[in-house]
């Protein structure tokens, strides 16, 4: 029983069950409002019919010409609602909007190199590593994990405007760039 509906500003009052999870950052109010004021159609939540939130995705559209693409900024599902396909369907939602509404060439995202669940989820959905970004994330300060914890994979999946798959490449894990070369 999961309803997909738009992310609303007032959802910030009820997203605790999702955001108290270690892997989900709670940003300042302006972070969320920035997304909603510009890309409301790339943001949505999954909620129970009685109201409680189960997960959400926040995305944006950026880049110019053939680099124009949708970007997954945050994707998270509350622990008790995982493995139900909620993330999968929210990603599908964002891909569709990036394709149909924005006409982007691909969708991309960053994920910690240590986030095995995240990486396998995206790989399962057709994403591949485009490059590895050094020290993209701050350390979680949780002990060993080293580089992998701070490095990010930039993962991509081509959309219908990129039928020749020019936005991806096969050996992305070996392409290493530093954090200031991106974003």
């Amino acid at each position: 029983m999961s309803i997909i509906r738009p992310f609303r500003a007032t959802d910030l009052f009820t997203f605790n069950n999702i955001n108290l999870d270690l892997w989900t950052e709670t940003y300042g109010i302006s972070f969320y409002l920035t997304y909603l004021a510009r890309w409301p159609d790339l943001c949505c939540v999954q909620a129970a019919p009685t109201g409680p939130l189960m997960g959400y995705i926040l995305g944006k559209a950026e880049g110019t010409s053939t680099d124009f693409h949708g970007h997954i900024t945050a994707l998270t599902v509350a622990p008790e609602f995982r493995r139900l396909g909620l993330a999968r369907s929210m990603i599908a939602f964002l891909e569709r909007a990036s394709d149909d509404t924005y006409g982007g060439f691909f969708v991309d995202l960053y994920v910690r190199c240590t986030n095995a669940v995240g990486i396998s989820l995206y790989e399962g959905l057709g994403y591949s590593v485009y490059r590895r970004v050094r020290e993209y994330y701050g350390s979680l300060g949780l002990g060993p994990g080293g580089k992998d914890e701070e490095d990010a994979f930039d993962m991509r999946k081509p959309l219908s405007r990129d039928p020749h798959r020019r936005s991806v490449r096969p050996n992305g894990r070996d392409m290493i760039v530093s954090a200031h070369d991106v974003s």
Binding site: M1, L20, L36, G51
Partner: protein, 981 residues
């Protein structure tokens, strides 16, 4: 002077401001101002640098100069906009842009800025007119939409009278109809258009628009528009049509949004016969059986195809069955349980299973026994993740259906012990997980915690809370990231009167930003009776301030000392910037949400509950003087005018108690009562009344000395009723939120205020004196002279004019209830201690007695002034006050001393031993419960068993915290008594 040269010289000033080097910016401005003393931009930049270095007063000089010269150039206007925003002078920003626009009517950028200035202040009416003008002049479509949006916002504003609303929507409708372009695919414009049609009940028009090719194309990719469409279809009773669309989406497009399933089901059979009869289009009731058969087929198909991939199909079948039964159309009574079994077989290893099935497991006796024996007969193991999750679900589902007759201490204790055992048995499954991961067995410990909380509320024995803490503390070490475990501990530790460890667990949640608003109630609810501020320990007082940062940072940059009332709000609203952005980007669907978000945060109930707690803490450790009295009075009166929203998150704690029983949340509510709006209202009345009597401010002066604006008032509040009447009103729903002791306290404060009111009113100095005093204070605070205020002429009427000594009201003895109150609280306290009452309850009574003493001090402060007493011949009153004070001091002092004794009896080895032995049932090592620490390594299975040592640590933590709470509060009382003797 060459413009280019000047520009070159100014650039470093901008850089300095951008990087926060305000000092060097000021130096730069000064240098250039020598050369160009009349340059507005330089003055504006200097004003900005000054205001950013908190030099409000100096900044104002330049600010006024620039405003007076009515600037029109972009750079100066922009700089001034920032200055005025810092000062919270939004109305001046609007005026400044309007003036500039008058001089350069063809400047589109300027016109837009003027529009935005109106948007920031929420001046929708002016915004609407300006946008219309913009459109006439510059012809861009979006200006029309801006004006439409403004009309809608004005219509929706709570201060707009009802008859105006309709007119405004009609205006918006006219505008949108003529502006509408049938070929463009602009989701937010469509959203705005349809919401206007909806507001005017023009459903047919809305339908036509939405069914057009344009409408369909937009709805297929805009969740917001599709949501609106669904509402229209529902309102029009187009159930069948909606059901068709939904069916197609489910079957063809494999859409698994539950909304589609609901639409499909609604078209088949409404949730209940009642909902069918209120006219939502199921006219063809005879066809219902066929529809049900069809729906069952479709959904069975979906469920089969989806298998374990998606649970919607099976859940929809369950929902269908539930509805069919509600209509008594069920042909196969066993089907519901069949489906439950099928669901459990398929999705029993998902964590969501329990929440999913909850709505469908209220069964009749026969079905219940089939369902229960199914659950009982399932294999129970925790050898794999999947079997463990099933085990957890079996426990949760079984517990849900426990009848009241089986909720006895005798039956619940073994259930709890069993859960702890299952938890420990399941732990090895997660032993290799990093401690950043949740342990798969966590829920078993959480369940055990709830069973123990239930036992506590059943038997009233704190031993069960000790059990819960022991298990949960152990589980928290194994799964440090489990916020549910932390939160349960916060609740239980507070019940045990152990505020310090409760706060520590709360802090581990890492609550940030807006979460402060929704979660701080878990630690700050009634926190003043845990606060040791009187002893100088400001832990809880600072927690209050920190958690309130979010309200200030949302309306940041506001410094006190705004001398000009802005048109609506005194603060800079962060959210306002996003409303401007949404206009710029034409995201109309977001604007009403942003406004409502801001309203809910600004007028948050929790914000003011925390404020109230903070005031209660503050007066225990700060000297009570006129400054404190006036400042708090102004703030509390602001709050008294608010229309509050309750944003507190009570949903986050899972509900694992049996169906029909109070939830864990209810069972762990401190003192059994949750303070809410009614509680806040009572305490506001108590404090406003006392502070008002003590204060020399009179209404008219206060109005003039106000820093910025009063908060926006809601049409719904009883704001039109005179203040005095509101302060005196007593509503049953407010009283219902008080504990019995708080009610006694409330009566005491009322009697006290009534007794002293005539003497306050008689002796309060005239407004001119008060004004001078308040002015001095404000100046010393902000460095800014308040606007010139004429003291109202002393014409012999009104509050506080000089009265002659012979007017003095005759001195009456303080009513017996005042002295009686302290005696009563003393007895209450002793009785609680004797009957082994809970520590929070004991502290509650003690803190109210102390608070009564403090309010007595506030109320009688004025009469400490010997010359005033002499002039007004109030010697007898003062004598009476002294007598009461000394008996109050005696009582409160004794309570304090007894608390210290209670503290001493906590934190002893007997207490710890008792704690440990209460936990014996689930301890691994059967060693005698002495205080010998058994190292963890000594036990066979290492960290996967709860040992005496583990529990002893916990016992020490809890009893030490209780000791500190009681002893600290007792000592604090001692200090308070000394300070107010």
């Amino acid at each position: 002077m060459s413009a280019a040269a000047l520009e070159r010289q100014i650039r470093p000033i901008y850089d300095a401001i951008d990087t926060g080097s305000n000092k060097s910016a000021i130096v730069g401005c000064n240098k250039l101002l020598k050369k160009y003393p009349k340059n507005d931009l330089l003055k504006a930049l200097k004003a900005l640098a000054l205001v950013r270095s908190q030099k409000v007063e100096e900044s104002l000089v330049f600010c006024e100069e620039v405003l007076a010269s009515k600037p029109t150039d972009d750079a100066t206007l922009t700089a001034m906009m920032h200055v005025l925003r810092h000062l919270g002078r939004h109305a001046d920003t609007v005026t400044m842009f309007e003036d500039a626009l008058k001089r350069q009517p063809g400047n589109e950028e300027l016109a837009m800025q003027t529009f935005f200035a109106n948007v920031r202040t929420g001046n929708w009416k002016a915004g609407q007119q300006l946008a219309t003008k913009l459109h006439k002049q510059f012809h861009a479509d979006r200006y029309t939409y801006w004006s439409i949006m403004c009309a809608v916002l004005q219509a929706s504003d709570s201060t707009t009278p009802a008859n105006m609303r309709d007119l405004l929507f009609k205006l918006a409708h006219r505008l949108v109809t003529s502006a509408w372009n049938f070929t463009e695919l602009h989701a937010d414009r469509l959203y705005l258009h349809v919401s206007i049609l909806k507001a005017l009940n023009l459903y047919d028009d809305a339908q036509t628009l939405l069914e057009s090719e344009q409408g369909q194309a937009i709805c297929s990719r805009s969740l917001a528009c599709d949501e609106l469409r669904r509402e229209i279809w529902k309102a029009k009773g187009l159930l069948q049509e909606e059901g068709k669309i939904a069916e197609e989406r489910i079957v063809e497009k494999r859409d698994r949004n539950w909304l589609e399933f609901l639409s499909f089901l609604d078209a088949t059979v409404p949730p209940s016969p009642q909902s069918a009869s209120n006219g939502t289009g199921l006219s063809t009731y005879e066809e219902t059986p066929q529809r049900i058969i069809h729906a069952r087929e479709v959904l069975t198909n979906v469920a089969e195809k989806d298998g374990t991939r998606d649970r919607s199909g099976l859940l929809a079948l369950l929902e269908l069955e539930q509805r069919v039964r509600a209509h008594s159309l069920s042909s196969e009574p066993s089907r519901l349980v069949d489906l439950l079994l099928q669901y459990f077989e398929t999705f029993g290893d998902k964590a969501a299973c329990y929440e999913d099935l909850k709505p469908y497991i209220t069964l009749d006796a026969e079905e219940l026994s089939r369902w229960t024996s199914y659950l009982d007969g399932l294999p129970r193991s925790s050898s794999t993740l999947s079997s463990l999750q099933r085990l957890i679900n079996i426990y949760k589902l079984t517990r849900y259906n426990l009848p009241t007759s089986e909720l006895t201490v005798e039956l619940e204790v073994p259930r709890a012990t069993k859960l702890v055992q299952e938890y420990l048995d399941a732990l090895p499954l997660g032993k290799d997980l990093p401690n950043t991961e949740l342990q798969p067995a966590d829920d078993l410990a959480i369940l055990a915690g709830q069973v123990y909380a239930g036992l506590y509320s059943l038997a009233g024995d704190e031993a069960y809370l000790h059990n819960a803490v022991a298990v949960l503390e152990f589980a928290s070490k194994r799964s440090p990231q489990s916020y549910l475990i932390h939160l349960q501990l916060v609740r239980i530790l507070r019940l045990l009167g152990a505020p310090q460890p409760a706060l520590e667990h709360y802090r581990l949640l890492n609550v940030k930003q807006v979460q402060n608003d929704t979660l701080s109630h878990y630690v700050l609810n009634r926190a003043s009776s845990f606060s040791l501020a009187a002893t100088g320990d400001l832990t809880y007082a600072s927690e209050c301030l920190e958690s309130s940062q979010i309200y200030i940072s949302n309306s940041q940059e506001v410094k006190i000392g705004n001398s000009q009332p802005a048109s609506r709000r005194a603060n800079v609203r962060q959210t306002a910037e996003f409303i401007v952005r949404a206009f710029t980007g034409e995201k109309y669907s977001q604007i009403p949400d942003f406004i409502s978000f801001e309203d809910r945060l600004d007028n948050s109930l929790q914000r003011d509950l925390v404020k109230m707690e903070h005031v209660r803490m503050r007066i225990t450790h700060e000297p009570i003087n006129s400054e404190l009295i006036n400042l708090e009075l102004i703030e509390l009166k602001f709050i008294f005018d608010r229309f509050h929203h309750d944003n507190r998150d009570f949903e986050i704690l899972p509900k694992y108690q049996p169906h029909g029983q109070p939830s864990f949340l209810t069972q762990t509510t401190l003192l059994g009562k949750q303070p809410s709006l009614g509680w806040l209202w009572v305490f506001l009345k108590i404090y406003i009344k006392a502070l008002q009597q003590a204060s020399d401010m009179d209404y008219s002066l206060e109005e003039k000395l106000l820093i910025g604006d009063r908060p926006k008032q809601s049409a719904a509040s009883d704001i039109h009723i005179p203040m005095e009447e509101r302060l005196d009103s007593r509503r049953p729903e407010e009283l219902a939120e008080l504990t019995a002791d708080e009610l006694t306290f409330y009566n005491f404060t009322t009697d006290l205020a009534d007794w002293l009111a005539p003497y306050h009113n008689h002796t309060r100095p005239p407004p001119s004196v008060a004004l001078a005093e308040a002015t001095k204070q404000l100046e010393s605070k902000s460095g800014l002279p308040p606007k010139a205020v004429e003291a109202p002429a002393s014409n012999g009427t009104g509050n506080g004019h000089v009265k002659k000594a012979e007017d003095a009201p005759p001195v009456k003895e303080g009513p017996a209830s005042i002295v009686g109150f302290f005696d009563h609280m003393h007895k209450r306290f002793d009785a609680l201690v004797e009957s082994n009452g809970s520590l929070p309850e004991i502290l509650h009574v003690a803190s109210l007695a102390q608070e009564a003493l403090l309010l007595f001090s506030i109320e009688t402060l004025r009469f400490k002034n010997a010359s005033l007493v002499k002039i007004h011949k109030l010697g007898a009153l003062v004598q009476n006050i002294k007598t009461i004070r000394s008996s109050a001091l005696a009582v409160v002092g004794e309570i304090g001393a007894e608390l210290i004794k209670i503290g001493e009896s906590e934190g002893t080895s007997e207490k710890r031993r008792a704690f440990v032995s209460q936990c014996e049932p689930f301890l691994s090592d059967l060693g005698v419960s002495d205080s010998r620490h058994i190292p963890r390594e000594a036990t066979l299975t290492g960290a996967l068993q709860i040992t005496h040592g583990d529990v002893l640590d916990v016992a020490k933590k809890v009893t030490d915290a209780r000791k500190k709470a009681a002893e600290g509060f007792g000592k604090g009382i001692g200090r308070v008594c000394a300070a107010h003797a």
